[in-house]
């Protein structure tokens, strides 16, 4: 469903250039949740934007259901639901207006929009605040609304960029439970998160990014055998520590 091939991106800023994503490849199939993990600034967000066609890669490409995001970004966007921590809501619209706006943008008919909003309201318990102005919503409510917004067109692919950032335990539990639901509905999902315990539970496979490079990839069992560590947290700490100690030394991808 999702196929990432040798994706690379360098940012130029004045005299500075920054290699944000460096030759990353992986695939995600239907019904799979792929955990894209890494410290801040590892290049996760850049990668997601390239997958969505929001940024043009310098090298390589991302393919969703046979459409390359650099060539047919609109086709790709129709098939992807995108949620990010920073994805805000329109302050002066109500939740219902926002959902219906996006429904229309994705080309749904009015009756489809109504039934879809009803369905999402049920699952994500939006009913209590759907007619409120978005400016008045809590962080958790906003994030549920964002998730509903990303699902309004029932996309086969979900890209979730730290969807639980800033949420309390209960709030993030709602989101993770819903990711389970999506998995059951055989969506292909890429999940970026720092909630490693939750990720460990919900994700089928993982990719660990650092400084734009894919340093570890595989199922939890594979990662355990490669690193000799028992859980993601330990692997993560190792990864960052190693980098801090050997900042100058180029690190090879372990499984690449």
């Amino acid at each position: 469903m999702i196929s990432i091939q040798h994706l690379s991106k360098t940012f130029q800023s004045g005299q500075r250039s920054l290699l944000a994503v460096d030759d990353v490849s992986f695939t995600v199939v239907k019904g799979e949740v792929y955990g894209l993990l890494g410290p801040n600034g590892a290049g996760k967000t850049t990668m997601m934007r390239m997958i969505l066609g929001l940024l043009k890669p310098d090298l390589g490409f991302a393919q969703i259901d046979g459409h390359r995001s650099d060539q047919q970004p609109d086709e790709v966007k129709r098939k992807v639901g995108f949620v990010s921590a920073s994805a805000g809501v329109y302050q002066w619209l109500t939740g219902w207006e926002m959902l219906s706006f996006f429904g229309e943008i994705y080309g749904l008919s009015s009756s489809e929009i109504v039934s879809k909003i009803d369905e999402l309201t049920e699952i994500l318990s939006l009913g209590e605040f759907l007619n409120q102005g978005c400016a008045t919503l809590s962080t958790g409510q906003k994030q549920r609304l964002s998730l509903a917004r990303a699902l309004i067109h029932d996309p086969p692919v979900m890209i979730l960029d730290e969807p639980t950032l800033g949420l309390d335990v209960v709030g993030s539990q709602v989101i993770f439970n819903y990711i389970d639901v999506l998995k059951e509905r055989s969506k292909a999902i890429i999940l970026c998160t720092h909630r490693l315990e939750q990720a460990q539970r919900v994700c089928s496979r993982f990719g660990l990014l650092h400084k734009g490079k894919m340093v570890l990839e595989g199922t939890l069992a594979e990662l355990k055998s490669q690193t000799g560590r028992n859980d993601l947290v330990e692997m993560f700490v190792d990864l960052i520590d190693e980098k801090r100690v050997n900042a100058e030394r180029p690190v090879q991808a372990v499984n690449h």
Partner: protein
């Protein structure tokens, strides 16, 4: 997955890339949806509402109060429904007893009539008579009592006092008026004295609004006197039957621009334009930088809508708010003008529905341009605050042309018809005073449309760039970091920095040089050498220092390679011949100017150019030819080539196609020559740009600025020495007359020689240029930071 998609979507997918009818309809529908969403968002925001509704409600009444109490009293104008007092100086010529008596009787007649009629006002059954007598009747005698405001359809009612002048000369009356002792003067016209049988009166006014009001008032009084049972009245004052008082008027004192008495006509468009800007600013920031800050922009872009569609919907939303603001302001302003009767002072009828509609159309045009400009700037910003910081200079800058358009004596022609904002303001003023000239008006509208289009393109370009989502990518400060590796050419931003510096340095040096004494030949030589020094600093030293700072190789950065001989030959050929084409182009442009703005403007403009040229020629004619050669040929050639074809062109060439680099550097070169003479010399734009294109092409093919320096210095030397030696040259039989156009044979010969030069450049091969780029290693760069 596919089965869950709604049927329409499948259709659409099938039609991907094909402009099918449903696809087009859907796109239109989607654009409408986008615009509606943007508008809904903006219009629900109370900050928009504040600028949209409260401002016009509060600003105009406040403004009009200020206008009424301060501005009007300052220019000596008060509304006509309140009585004003003025002093009339009058003189009868005592040398002619009959005349004198008659005149005094006329004066006494007015006074008497007013006295008499004030008691029996309106007793007659005839309406006209009654009205006229009433109106006359309300005039109050010297130092008199209150005037009763009524009968507005006739003449306004004022009080006045008389200053009798018994001197023999009528000049005294004029002098009194001119000095301001009297507001208006009255005497029997001297020229027509011989024929004087009846009442030839001359009204003397000063050239100010107050005095003119008084004169108009007196004239209207006499008119009434004539119209209204004149026989009877004249009999009363002892004049023959059927006599008519002939009234003529005379303005004394310095002349002033007639348009200066219309500050309201200039002020109205400026206030409307500024308010329209105010209305557009908030939505422009909120819908771009604001959305970006809140993270909704990314969400929107993750939807299958093309970026241009998103931008365009934002543009339409901002434009709609701007137009709404304009409408509300227009209504508020005209309502205020109407309510406070401000239009009366400026000749009623100025503000009618047609004028309002035309002003409204102009405001839409302006709003389209400014909304696009605002979006281009705010799209660049990452946050609301940053956008505000960017907008402040834009708004301050736009005040410049706004205030310039307010200046008296400004007219919509020449360069002003293409200056953004200013052209619309001048055109709006012309619409209000009813003096629109078609061609400049069309130029103003077309140029503003062009600017709007360019601004939308710019906004779309910024909006389409990766940086639109890339919040963390760099700051301006990073631009000025010193790179570690050697650059082959100066980075473009550093070049632009030099370009930006050129203008203030240039203006400062012109200002400074203008203050130096210019009395002796020594003074002048010193001045010109100093001018050369400033040119050297601005065009050579500063770029050199910036290039050094940017770790740029000077030889490659400025094109100092030794050129092949063929290019030097071509440079010489073009250098000695191109001036003929340039000069004929300049005179051709004069004709175009005349066609566009009328023969009168053309003459005025030509006259000014000749004046400037003559003054300059007068100065340089005393200076030694060596100094002239250095200051007008060698220094400008070397310095300008160093910057324009060296630094700028080569920086551009790194990222731009050759023709674009040539064209951009040539236009900048042309623009600089347009601005360099302390005044705007628009006639130099096209010729200088063409020379710039030639020089750019030569610099590209030869990969060196040296042939260009030769071309440039020869060209300048010939032009300046033709002027310098003109007095002795003109004695030669074959030399054309000073004011005559260049002979066609000269132009043809020049064109031929230039063509040979161009052919040489074209046929010669460009040397192989090393273009290896300096690889920027991300790690080393970041460490360097």
């Amino acid at each position: 997955m596919t089965e869950s998609l709604p049927p329409e979507k499948s259709d659409e997918r099938g039609a991907a890339g094909v402009a099918s009818v449903p696809g087009v309809r859907r796109r239109k529908y989607r654009l409408r949806r986008l615009v509606l969403k943007e508008l809904r968002e903006t219009l629900r925001d109370r900050r928009t509402i504040v600028t949209l509704i409260l401002m016009p409600l509060l600003v105009y009444p406040a403004l009009s109060l200020v206008f009424k109490t301060y501005l009007l009293s300052n220019i000596g104008l008060v509304p006509t429904d309140e009585p004003i007092s003025f002093r009339i100086a009058y003189s009868g010529d005592t040398s002619d007893a009959d005349v004198s008596t008659a005149f005094e009787q006329i004066v006494a007649g007015i006074q008497g009539a007013t006295r008499n009629n004030s008691t029996d006002a309106g007793v007659d059954g005839v309406p006209g008579e009654a009205a006229a007598s009433e109106s006359l009747g309300e005039v109050v005698q010297p130092g008199g009592g209150k005037a009763i405001p009524n009968q507005e359809q006739f003449v306004p009612i004022h009080r006045h006092s008389w200053i009798p002048v018994s001197q023999t000369s009528d000049d005294t009356v004029e002098r009194l008026v001119e000095l301001g002792v009297a507001d208006v003067g009255l005497y029997l016209s001297r020229e027509e004295r011989r024929a004087w049988q009846v009442g030839d009166l001359r009204i003397v006014a000063r050239n100010d609004v107050f005095s003119e009001t008084a004169a108009n008032y007196l004239a209207s009084k006499f008119k009434l006197l004539n119209e209204f049972d004149i026989q009877q009245r004249l009999k009363k004052v002892g004049l023959p039957d059927g006599a008519v008082i002939k009234v003529s008027s005379l303005i004394v004192g310095p002349e002033s621009e007639p348009k200066s008495s219309f500050p309201l006509a200039s002020l109205v468009p400026l206030v409307l334009v500024l308010m329209t800007i105010t209305g557009a600013v908030y939505p422009a920031i909120d819908l771009t930088a604001g959305e970006r800050e809140r993270g909704t922009l990314e969400t929107l872009m993750a939807a299958p809508v093309p970026r241009f569609g998103i931008l365009f919907s934002k543009f339409l939303a901002v434009l709609t708010v701007a137009i709404l603001t304009a409408v509300l302001n227009l209504i508020g302003m005209f309502a205020t003008i109407w309510a406070f009767q401000l239009d009366k002072q400026f000749g009623g009828g100025m503000f009618n529905a047609t004028v309002m509609f035309q002003i409204f159309l102009l405001l839409i045009l302006f709003a389209a341009f400014f909304s696009a400009l605002l979006l281009a700037v705010t799209s660049f910003a990452k946050s609301f605050k940053e956008a505000q910081v960017y907008l402040i200079p834009i708004i301050l800058l736009s005040l410049g042309p706004g205030l310039m358009a307010m200046a008296p004596g400004m007219s919509l022609d020449g360069v002003y018809s293409v200056v953004p904002m200013m052209n619309i303001l001048l055109l709006a003023r012309d619409v209000i005073i009813g003096e629109v000239v078609v061609i400049p008006a069309v130029i103003a509208v077309l140029s503003t449309l062009t600017y709007a289009f360019l601004a939308i393109q710019l906004a779309a370009w910024i909006f389409g760039s990766d940086g639109i989502l890339n919040a963390g990518s760099g700051s301006f400060a990073e631009m000025f970091l010193r790179p570690i590796k050697v650059n082959r050419v100066v980075p473009i931003f550093a070049t632009l920095f030099c370009l930006v510096l050129l203008f203030p340095i240039n203006f400062a040096s012109i200002g400074y040089l203008g203050r130096l004494p210019a009395e002796t030949v020594g003074d002048l030589q010193y001045r010109y050498l100093l001018m050369g020094l400033f040119t050297f600093i601005a065009f050579m030293v500063v770029p050199w220092a910036v290039a050094k700072h940017q770790n740029t190789n000077i030889k490659t950065g400025f094109g100092l390679n030794p050129p092949r001989i063929i290019f030097l030959v071509a440079g010489v050929l073009i250098g000695i011949s191109l001036w003929t084409i340039v000069m004929s182009l300049t005179s051709g442009w004069h004709e175009v100017y005349g066609y566009l703005f009328g023969a009168e403007k053309q003459d005025a403009w030509h006259h000014r150019l000749v004046e400037v040229a003559t003054a300059q020629l007068e100065r340089i004619s005393q200076i030694s030819p060596l100094v002239i050669l250095i200051c007008f040929s060698i220094i400008p050639a070397i310095c300008e080539e160093w910057f324009f074809r060296g630094m700028l062109f080569r920086s551009l060439l790194k990222t731009k196609a050759v023709w674009k680099a040539v064209l951009i550097s040539a236009v900048v070169f042309g623009a600089f020559h347009t601005l360099s003479n302390s005044a705007i010399a628009i006639d130099r734009l096209i010729p200088s740009t063409l020379v710039g294109i030639m020089l750019g092409y030569l610099a590209y093919k030869s990969d060196s600025i040296l042939p260009g320096i030769i071309l440039h210095s020869l060209n300048n030397a010939i032009v300046i020495f033709l002027a310098y030696y003109e007095p002795s040259l003109s004695e030669l039989p074959w030399f054309p007359d000073k004011d005559a156009p260049i002979p066609l044979s000269w132009v043809a010969g020049g064109a031929l020689i230039s063509a040979v030069g161009v052919a040489l450049i074209w046929s010669a091969k460009r040397p192989i240029v090393e273009t290896e780029e300096v690889e920027l290693d991300s790690n080393t760069m970041i460490e360097a930071v």
